[in-house]
Symmetry: C2
Subunit: 347 residues, 2 copies
């Protein structure tokens, strides 16, 4: 039995063949389909767990498992180290994704999770915006201009006709390079200084927050009057005490988490009493007409990162690898010969 | 940054170079060293968690993480599917082990966990027996003659001068092949039928239980008079409700778990009130003179499988691979280029 390895080189070849825009659109559509079909008796998603530390650098190493009963289990191991870019020239999020056969425990596939996480997080925000933002949204604001901001905008650009994006980052050297990084999308970029951050929030149709704000440091912008229909994709909250959106804004918004149990512990929803948390995004997608009026209201997608998204994204990449004959097949485990003899392979 | 892959072929080459007996002895010695040095403020070991199901086949898929602060985290993913041998010609335990850099989240290495688990489980029992069994133990009994029984005996053979091994399995076709599987150890093997199982227990110096007994089915042998110094390595208990050793025997034994929090949930210790659980094996190894008298008493090593063992075993194999220039280096993750640009690798 073999294991399929998809290195970043294989994924590059998939993208060169499929096209980056098309891959993002398929990611959004596959998520749409998976969320619509989601059945919690068939897909089992524990809340993520992990190690949190401040030894060499502050960081997290977390495991995010999900099982589709009778098929497979996907486990993403994800490192979150906000110092990575400045100290090691590495992305904040470094990750790998593995898929296991639940008929026997065999490792079916292993792949890069860095690009996968950026793609699926952008796709999830685009999907939430498809159902909760105004269909003619034109102006996008970004708070946090790092790696995740690139795919936030890229995802949104597949769903909306974006006329202008404004971007703010606490580190001006990061926002300064944003226009170059998203030049391929052909959307005018305006870099915003701290003094105009709240004005940006008050003017945009869709806002994405994707920061490495520290635990306990509070919201990443001040509460201001916003467009009545503003939709926020709050992407950065992923740890107890880490939030991005001001409470007063959350309190008057329709708040939809990706994964309620996790959002209540780690997301924006940790600021809210349980009865103020709205339905999960998959409920909205299953019954969009019931929530259509929310497009005209203030809405927040509390995106903590749902392992179902990793399962969908890894399957999409494995399917493309299979179709395009990409990836390396290795015999990793000791499975040949007599199952009762661990030393059988030596003879 | 590269990831080292150790396939079962690489591990085979390590064993061909080092020797199987020597590798087992080093595994035992490395565990001895690691247990002696164990510091729970430096090594963080959550109890394992996982999926339990009965869909295609009954089974478990579990993750066993351990972190050495400031160094790395080892995560073993282990499938336990008792039907594997009969339905799929695969080992009951199918597993892979990954090592991550906690400075940044990078996957340092990935390797087979099937042989690794068998080796380290045998080594742990040998280590426990070194400190808790009589030094001149000569007669070994095995209940359960599958894959784990092979390395139980192999581990013990590195520490004791074994004159005879008796083996019982609920499936006579499994015990029938045991002598062939351990022929390389040159120890006389006697296969025991069910009616002589308790007599075997009453006569041996060391007993290993390594079965796939079902949850709720009770002990795998009846309580009988034993040698006063009998030492038992109870290896099979690894799930709530699954036990192997009769309560009446446990109640009069000195019981040392590998990992108290896990043994209380999943091991033989789940049968005992907390105050009847003895010190963990690492405490005994750190202070052997305090427990020397237990060698003359009835003792039980409650081996549920401790992630520290996986960390030690995977490091030993990675060190050998490095020394022998084995293993494949792959660039798995998307880490090159601008850490703020997930699409950088495309240009």
């Amino acid at each position: 039995m073999q294991t399929t390895l998809l290195t970043i080189d294989d994924i590059k070849k998939i993208i060169q063949s499929v096209g980056l825009d098309r891959l993002m659109r398929e990611m959004i559509d596959q998520l749409d389909h998976a969320f619509r079909q989601y059945d919690d008796s068939r897909m089992i998603v524990p809340t993520r767990d992990g190690f949190s530390y401040d030894d060499i650098y502050p960081g997290l190493l977390e495991w995010m498992p999900v099982m589709t009963r009778g098929e497979n289990a996907t486990i993403k191991i994800v490192g979150y180290h906000p110092c990575n870019p400045s100290t090691q020239q590495l992305p904040t999020i470094v990750s790998t994704v593995s898929v296991y056969d639940v008929a026997n425990g065999h490792l079916i596939g292993l792949m890069d999770g860095v690009l996968l996480t950026a793609l699926r997080t952008g796709a999830a925000s685009a999907l939430a915006s498809r159902y909760l933002a105004k269909a003619d949204s034109k102006r996008v604001g970004l708070i946090g201009a790092g790696a995740q901001a690139v795919t936030q905008l890229h995802g949104l650009a597949q769903v909306f006709d974006i006329e202008r994006v404004q971007v703010y980052d606490i580190d001006p050297t990061v926002s300064a390079t944003f226009a170059d990084r998203v030049a391929f999308m052909d959307i005018p970029v305006e870099v915003i200084g701290q003094h105009h951050r709240e004005q940006m929030v008050s003017e945009v149709d869709i806002l994405c927050t994707a920061t490495s704000a520290a635990v306990g440091s509070g919201a990443v912008f001040d509460a201001v009057e916003t467009a009545p229909h503003l939709h926020i994709n709050a992407v950065g909250s992923d740890f107890p005490g880490k939030i991005e959106v001001p409470l007063s804004l959350l309190e008057r918004a329709f708040v939809s988490p990706d994964f309620p149990a996790q959002a209540a512990k780690e997301g924006e929803c940790q600021q809210l009493p349980p009865d103020r948390m709205g339905p999960p995004l998959y409920d909205i997608i299953r019954n969009p007409s019931a929530y259509a009026e929310q497009r005209d209201n203030l809405t927040v997608f509390d995106s903590t990162g749902w392992a179902v998204e990793d399962a969908v994204a890894s399957q999409l990449l494995l399917d493309y690898a299979d179709e395009l004959k990409l990836g390396q097949q290795i015999t990793l485990e000791s499975l040949a010969g007599d199952p009762q003899n661990p030393y059988n392979f030596l003879t």
